[in-house]
Amino acid sequence: MISGRILVVDDEPQIHRFLGPALSAAGYEPLRAERGDDALRQAASAAPDLVLLDLGLPDIEGQEVLRRLRAFSEVPVIILSARDQEAQKITALDSGADDYVEKPFALGELLARIRTALRRKGQTQPATQQLDFNGLRINATAAKAELNGAPLALTKREHALLLLLVRNHGRVLTHRQLLTALWGPAHTEDVAYLRVYIGQLRKKLGDTLSAKLKTEPGVGYRLEE
């Protein structure tokens, strides 16, 4: 039973050596690319369901691979990187990556992220009027929300922020993405706004939900499944 084709792009043979069997065992079909040009070729021809992309490649910089990939494909991309610099991750997320894991990563976590990304890909619903998420019901147009049946009083901004997080649950939204969506491109550096609104949301959402609203330090926020 094959539940998806996954293109692994990494120049380290040792990574392919264990990811191949691990992905196969989890029911995926692994594809292997060690160079950027090869990765783009395979992404175009083999139509993978997901791409695991290492940022340090011998021929093309990983960021560039991502940009070129995004020019023709909406395939979910999870960044694998030994580079722990925040800037790298954020740039990748801003230019269209869906998630990232840092080397050395736990296999279980990687597989969970892969599942989330694939599921989200399956449900790219047209903007529905109403979304349900763990007891939260949020109306997309009417600026209304209910938590476990009780109405939730949200300001306009809080509502917009919550809607964005719920729509992209399981995925990291960078500060820049959130700020651009809510406050416009002039406020992409005003991370303090976000801190305030996320704080307010956590207070209003109750313990269960606010525990799922995770801070990704230095990068952004993620509403976990």
Partner: protein, 872 residues
């Protein structure tokens, strides 16, 4: 006075005047303190204007309840005040709109510094006045000097009272006319006591506080000075618009004429006192002459110390130069030395000319001190009789020949021959020898050739004229030739000094280190004088850093002179006024950061050219020392930056090279635990093998780091023994996976090397590792050894990607990794650095060559890394 030369008015100044034309005129009555009578004076003048039919209106007059003032307004039309409600009371303010509507020719507005009540159009009364002026109405106003913003602090300091109401100084500059109302302090106090200004109770307090005599004196002086400055500006403006050349005496300006004589210092001191008393700027003026000595420089330095500025000019006509300068710069006082009239001197001519020339300057003569300081170079002054003897001998011989050949040589020709000798003597030995020759020739010619011969009397009156003309010509040519010689000599010595300095500059620019600079400086000082030394100030005080001849030491007195020189930044020792008995001359080395040390020289005497040369030497040395220190500092900063870069490189290397195997190990282990049962047997075995390999990779990485740490900590112990190269190479090849097919070619005479077997093996391992990493999998790698004299050349050659030409040396640096595209190859970047360190520890050398010359040009360039080791 830019256009003074061509006598045309300055267009900018004309434009400014034209702009003023449409505006109303502002006249300000400026007073030093309340009560001096500004308002009174203003009213007085205004009444006089009204008498002459001018439409004068009193816009606002503050009478301060003084009945006299009130009466004075008398028949003048007075604008009603405007009532302004303010916090429950009504204030009466100047009615600007009423004044604009009334539109008189002349409006009086008292107390320019007044602050208007809130709610009026302008915050300040001077702004009201500005609007009136813009409307074309002439305004007269009054203000006390303490209200000027720039003087506010000063006034507060003097009187202890800070004035809240101030006007910007530009308002005063805006005035077309300023009238200073001046009242001596004692008279003002008397008026106060008589109750003319304040009520008696207020007056008594005021007398104690603000109106103290000292305060009033200071304020008065300020007012006078401010008005004078303003008037000074006016005059400059007037002169510019009309292209009138100076002098135009308004504010005082003092010029001190500094010459090479004993009075120079006194002239400057006197001029400075005069300038101080007049609150005038001081300029020390000097015309460069060949006989300038240290006293001139000292006097000019003194002028600077006393707050003056220094102007030196190079001019032949002293009088013209002084008059021009004084005229162009509105000099009002000229101070010069009075010299005893014992010799014909340009100074006397100058004094004469200045006295005659112009009544514009006050001339001050300063007496020469009673006991003039000894000339700094007495040796040079010793009379040398040789030229006089020579002149006498020459003239004597010519006379004897002339007398003997009396029949063939006309007496006029003798005159010409004598003139020739005079010129020759003057050019050879200077002016005095020339004059002496002229006099002697005059006597000889008269005595031996003019009838009656052998007497000093002359028969023919025409001969008397001829004789006098001869004397005159003789004296003049002697003078001229003498001066030419003197100037030529001075020019030559200046050229020599310049040449030396420029040579020294070249030498300094080549000096790489601080000690080179100091040695050069000491050597240069020694070549000028005999001995030279440089002392620098450090944490232990002043210490000699370089001396020529080496090893000379300063005695106690000389050390004291050097210390003094350093502490006070002045020249000390021989030929100066500080410790002149010390045979050394010390010059401060002054840099931007202050005095950094002292340059010493040991001359027999210090004639001015030598003093100048030494000063130039000190200046250049100071610059060079500073530059050397700066470059040292830069080098240190560079080293620090490098070590910072190294640390960053280490961190990024650790991050990459530890994380990748860790990821692989963790991934493989987790795959085995989580999905072990789903995997087939070969996959499980492969994952386990992967874990083992990555563990080995990390171990190697750590070993490399430890090796490098050992090298850098200096804890490397090297055994030197006879090593069989082949054995070591085989052992190394066995340790490097991927180097299995390496060929080993060892020449028969290169079998044994003197080296540490463990270190050598590690070097070869690292070189092979590197070769494998940068070569295609199937290419050939070889280890070769040949003998070169008493050395062995051991090389590792690959047919890989090669090294870029610019990076051949850098490959041996720590954390250097050749770039392949955007990504660096895996590895610590330490392998070759360790190889180099180990090789050098064994007394060998290592170098890289790429591309290889023995490979076909169309393939990969390849690399050869060669180490040279002692043969055994």
């Amino acid at each position: 006075m830019a256009n003074q030369d061509d006598g045309r008015p300055d267009p900018d100044a004309l434009l400014a005047s034209a702009e003023r034309g449409s505006r109303g005129h502002l006249k300000i009555f400026l007073g030093a303190a309340p009560g001096v009578g500004k308002t009174w004076e203003m009213l007085d003048a205004a009444l006089a204007k009204r008498e002459r039919g001018l439409d004068v209106v009193a816009g606002l007059i503050e009478t301060h309840g003084r009945a006299g003032t009130l009466r004075k307004i008398g028949a003048l039309e007075l604008l009603p005040r405007r009532a302004v409600p303010y916090r429950g009371q009504t204030l009466e303010e100047f009615d600007l709109d009423a004044a604009l509507t009334r539109r008189p020719q002349l409006l009086l507005v008292d107390e320019l510094a007044h602050t208007n009540a809130a709610g009026l159009r302008h915050a300040k009364r001077w702004q009201d006045v500005q609007e009136l002026l813009e409307a074309g109405i002439d305004v007269w106003s009054t203000v006390n000097v303490q209200h000027l913003e720039s003087l506010n602090d000063q006034v507060a300091r003097i009187t202890g009272i800070r004035v809240a109401e101030t006007i910007p100084d530009t308002v005063l500059d805006m005035a077309d006319e300023i009238e200073l109302i001046d009242l001596p302090p004692n008279e003002l106090r008397a008026r106060l006591e008589e109750g003319h200004i304040y009520r008696p109770d207020v007056a008594a307090r005021a007398l104690r506080d603000f109106f103290r005599e000292g305060n009033l004196g200071a304020l008065r002086e300020m007012a006078l000075r401010r008005a004078a400055q303003r008037i000074d500006k006016d005059v400059t403006h007037y002169m510019r618009t009309r292209a009138i050349p100076g002098p135009w005496p308004v504010a005082e300006r003092v010029l001190a004429l500094v010459g090479a004589d004993a009075s120079a210092g006194n002239v400057v001191r006197h001029a400075a006192r005069l300038a101080e008393a007049l609150r005038a700027p001081l300029t020390a003026f000097h015309i460069e002459r060949t006989n300038d000595d240290a006293r001139v420089q000292a006097a000019l330095d003194l002028a600077v110390q006393l707050g003056g500025n220094v102007v030196t000019q190079n001019a032949t006509d002293l009088v013209r130069a002084v008059l021009d300068y004084a005229g162009q710069n509105n000099i009002t006082h000229i101070v010069m030395g009075r010299l005893p009239a014992r010799r014909w001197r340009p100074r006397l001519r100058l004094a004469d000319a200045l006295t005659r020339q112009s009544a514009a300057f006050a001339l001050h003569f300063v007496p020469v001190p009673a006991a003039p300081a000894p000339r700094p170079a007495p040796a040079r002054r010793k009379t040398d009789f040789e030229p006089y003897l020579l002149a006498s001998a020459l003239l004597g011989v010519v006379t004897v020949i002339g007398v003997a050949a009396d029949k063939y040589v006309p007496q006029e020709a003798m005159g010409l021959i004598f003139t020739g000798i005079i010129v020759a003597m003057a050019s050879r030995s200077g002016r005095n020898a020339g004059l002496f020759s002229a006099l002697l020739a005059f006597l000889l010619w008269n005595f031996c050739f003019l009838p009656p011969v052998y007497t000093f009397s002359v028969a023919d009156p025409r001969d008397v004229v001829a004789l006098l003309v001869f004397l005159l010509v003789g004296v003049l040519t002697g003078q001229l030739a003498g001066r030419v010689r003197q100037e030529a000599g001075a020019a030559a010595s200046r050229v020599e000094a310049l040449r030396r300095i420029s040579l020294f500059g070249q030498r300094l620019s080549r000096a790489a280190t601080l000690s080179d600079v100091l040695a050069s400086a000491a050597e240069e000082a020694a070549s000028m004088t005999g001995s030279g030394t440089v002392l620098l100030h450090g944490p232990h005080g002043l210490r000699p850093e370089a001396s020529r001849p080496a090893g000379i030491s300063l005695d106690e007195a000389a050390t004291a002179a050097a210390e003094w020189c350093f502490a006070h930044g002045v020249e000390t020792g021989i030929g100066t006024s500080t410790l002149p008995s010390v045979p050394w001359r010390f010059l401060p080395l002054s840099s931007n950061a202050g005095c950094i040390g002292v340059l010493g020289a040991k001359p027999d005497a210090v004639p001015p050219p030598l003093a100048q040369a030494l000063a130039a030497l000190a200046g250049q040395t100071a610059l060079a020392v500073e530059r050397a220190r700066l470059s040292l500092h830069t080098a240190r900063a560079q080293a620090q930056e490098d070590s910072q870069k190294l640390r960053n490189a280490l961190l990024s290397s650790l991050s990459h090279d530890l994380r990748t195997p860790l990821t692989s190990i963790r991934g493989a282990a987790e795959t085995l635990t989580q999905a072990g049962s789903a995997l087939d047997e070969p996959t499980r075995a492969d994952l386990l093998a992967s874990i083992t390999q990555d563990t080995a990779r990390m171990t190697k990485f750590l070993a490399n780091i430890m090796d490098m740490a050992r090298v850098e900590a200096g804890g490397l112990t090297v055994r030197q023994e006879r090593v069989k190269l082949e054995e070591v190479a085989e052992a190394a090849i066995a340790r490097v996976s991927g180097a299995l097919y390496t060929r080993v070619n060892i020449a028969p005479d290169a079998t044994y090397a003197r080296a540490d077997p463990a270190l050598l093996e590690q070097v070869i391992v690292n070189l092979l590792d590197n070769a494998v990493k940068y070569s295609p999998p199937d290419s050939h790698i070889s280890v070769n050894a040949v003998r070169a004299g008493n050395k062995l050349r051991l090389s590792v050659a690959d047919a890989g990607v090669g090294i870029a030409p610019g990076e051949l040396d850098a490959v041996f640096d720590s954390f250097f990794r050749a770039r392949r595209g955007d990504r660096v190859a895996p590895g610590t970047g330490l392998g070759l650095a360790i190889a180099k360190a180990f090789t050098e520890a064994m007394g060998g050398t290592i170098s890289a060559q790429s591309p290889r010359t023995d490979l076909p040009a169309d393939g990969m360039p390849g690399t050869i890394i060669t180490m040279e080791l002692p043969a055994a």
